[in-house]
Amino acid sequence: MENPQSGQQPTSPIQPVISGPTSPNPVIQPQIKRHFDMRYLFLLLVVIGLGGGLLTAMRQPVSLPTPTPSDTPTPTPKSKPVVPVATQSAYLELTKSVASLSAQIKNLQVSDTTLTPPTVELPLGFPNE
């Protein structure tokens, strides 16, 4: 005899379909935004500034190397052959005359202020009486 009071549930023929483990409802957690801390930037800038200043102060003045005279002499331009006329008195006189003419032209004052005529007052400015 079956004891209905046994507390055992009769096994129902229809078994629930167990469809795997049910996924739990997603819990929306508040995202933590990572803000860039501006203090770091400030600190970085200060460090760069101090470092730059320090480097500049520490830099030694660049001393230019003292030029040493080279042993090789500067090549002189190849001298051109001089024609016989260059030693003639006519040529020498000509060069002197050209130099003298050049000086005379330079000294010529076309607008000589000392020669400017005087300006005088002409009308006396008395009324006709």
Binding site: K80, V83, Y91, S97, I105, L115, P117, P118, L122
Partner: protein, 265 residues
């Protein structure tokens, strides 16, 4: 004998300084007269304004006295200036005798006019008389200015022409020297020097063009208008400056040519 020779040498040394001194002393004299004129002119202006303001007999008399002084000094200043120009003409080595004589006649005529003008001042008895005498100079003033400017232009163009003659002589000399020594130069060098000579000649042609323009403009100096005379004189000064520039450039070319003439290639 030695004493005589010493005197001659001393005399010869003194000649150039005496020539220099004549125009210089004339210029100094002119400057002194100018200073006097400025002083007298100021006194005249003060006396005139006082007379025009108060119209008293005393102020009239003062004005008359100062006017006479001013007129006399004005004439003296102009004569001193003409004397200075005359000395400049005397000293000019570049101007030929006939041209010099022409300008000196022009100056002598102006001095004669001024002497007559000064002579009239003794007869001035009133301000009206003074006006009349002053008017005589006013009506002649354009001609006087024209003579002055013509003389200045004459002096300066003579200097330019003397330089031009020197320039042309040196150009010809260079040309002759090159031609006489053709064998010393390579054909390339010869052709270069020929080209340079042509450029030197061109500079002279440009100078002559400017000189012709100056001569043409010089006729405007005989104009009847004072403003035209002044404007024409300014144009002439510009032309003379350009002419001088051509000579200067040409001489610079001549210097290059003569330096290059030493070498065969």
């Amino acid at each position: 004998m030695i004493k005589k020779a010493f005197t001659i040498i001393l005399f010869l040394f003194l000649i150039p300084s005496a020539v220099w001194a004549s125009s210089q002393s004339a210029y100094q004299e002119y400057l002194i007269e100018f200073d006097k004129y400025r002083a007298v002119l100021n006194e005249f202006k003060v006396a005139r304004s006082e007379y025009l303001k108060f119209k008293t007999l005393t102020s009239q008399q003062t004005a008359l006295d100062k006017t006479k002084q001013m007129l006399s000094q004005r004439s003296q200043l102009l004569r001193a200036y003409l004397q200075f120009l005359n000395e400049k003409l005397n000293e000019s080595a570049s101007m030929d005798a006939s041209t010099k004589s022409l300008y000196q006649t022009l100056i002598a005529n102006e001095v004669k006019f001024l002497n007559n003008h000064t002579g009239l001042m003794g007869a001035i008895g009133s301000l009206q008389d003074a006006e009349g005498v002053s008017q005589q100079l006013s009506s002649h003033y354009t001609m006087l200015q024209s003579s002055m400017y013509q003389t200045i232009v004459g002096l300066k163009t003579a200097e330019l022409m003397a330089l031009d003659a020197h320039y042309y002589a040196l150009f010809t000399k260079s040309h002759t020297l090159i031609q006489e020594n053709t064998s010393s130069y390579t054909p390339e060098k010869q052709s270069i020097m020929e080209r340079w000579l042509l450029q030197i000649q061109n500079k002279r042609d440009l100078f002559r063009q400017k000189y012709d323009e100056i001569t043409k403009e010089n006729t405007v100096l005989k104009s009847s208008s004072l403003s035209e005379i002044t404007a024409s004189y300014q144009r002439i000064q510009k032309l003379m400056s350009e002419a001088r520039q051509y000579l200067s450039e040409g001489t610079s070319f001549l210097q290059e040519l003569t330096a290059s003439m030493q070498y065969g290639e």
